[in-house]
Symmetry: C2
Subunit: 210 residues, 2 copies
Amino acid sequence: METIDAMKWRYAAKRMSGKKIPEHKINKIIEAMHLAPSGIGLQPYELIIITNNELKNKIQPIAFNQMQIVECSHLIVFAAWDTYSNKRIDKVFDHLAKERNLPLEKTSSQRNFSKSFFGAMSEENNFHHAAKQAHIALGIATLTAALEGIDATPMEGFDPIALDALLGLKEKGLKSSMLLALGYRNDSNDWNLNLKKVRKPMSEFITEIK
Amino acid sequence: METIDAMKWRYAAKRMSGKKIPEHKINKIIEAMHLAPSGIGLQPYELIIITNNELKNKIQPIAFNQMQIVECSHLIVFAAWDTYSNKRIDKVFDHLAKERNLPLEKTSSQRNFSKSFFGAMSEENNFHHAAKQAHIALGIATLTAALEGIDATPMEGFDPIALDALLGLKEKGLKSSMLLALGYRNDSNDWNLNLKKVRKPMSEFITEIK
């Protein structure tokens, strides 16, 4: 499918069919997210990819009992860093230096900038920043999925504290920021499918300064 | 280009050639962003699309003098709502009702939910929420651009207060959250072009629960 056709085809499926996404297609969506850009390349989030039915059943009640939680093929939890610690920042730049065959000192200016930039922010704003980077990947995932004819429903309607507890995220220094249900729309019973896609008028969306 | 090839091809171009993006291609990138999903469909941000050279020259010094600001074809400023006011929320749902030929009352449950959800949040967190939605569109723009062979460099290295003042965003209830330079890489002098693209190991990026 072509980009704009894919973006028009996609919608937030509220009912899915339970059909499984083939391995090579889910891998493509994950790889696209893995390649997503992020501020200073820190990739300050992880993805928890859930296909386990028992776990999906436990998540459903803490996500307003939404049906796509259990009817999707893969449920992805975006789990963002709770804070940009120096240890985490060092780990990124140590890995970068190794992959690029650089002496560690060559990474020190970006490394020190990152530490002072995020160190000067509140912990809450560290998390907001990390979650924003995860949203870039979320956008890329929705388009990648649509291009493959796969439905992707972003959801922020869930209790993050309960979800973090269920998944043991706090112990890992992570906080859930978003859910993404990937699967196939159920044409026969999704009330959301036939509603007209509405966006604000283009004239209120963009301002051109030529 | 295929999705993964496009994601591997793309990088944050730090030098661009000044070549102009054809109208139909820039329109495709803008349309993809216009179709991007957002929380409760509120689209709480606007895009300022700058091709004016004089204005780009004024922005460059408040963005660490980055060259891609002036060498890009189109500079996009993501300008997010400073707050989710009831007036803004009403406008979205009035438009939705009109486009879907629904009586206004049919939108009242989502309308009221939005008002109480965002009303209970601090103004700062309203802005973070709005900026996160803009990041979804940013992700979609980077992939859409890459699929068209266009470079897209996201930038948060700028002084948002100075940029808001320059563009008169405060008066519109907007705050700049991100810049995106769209254009064409300058193969001959971009130090960033030949650096190996490094991402954290996939094993540290995803956790599968089967």
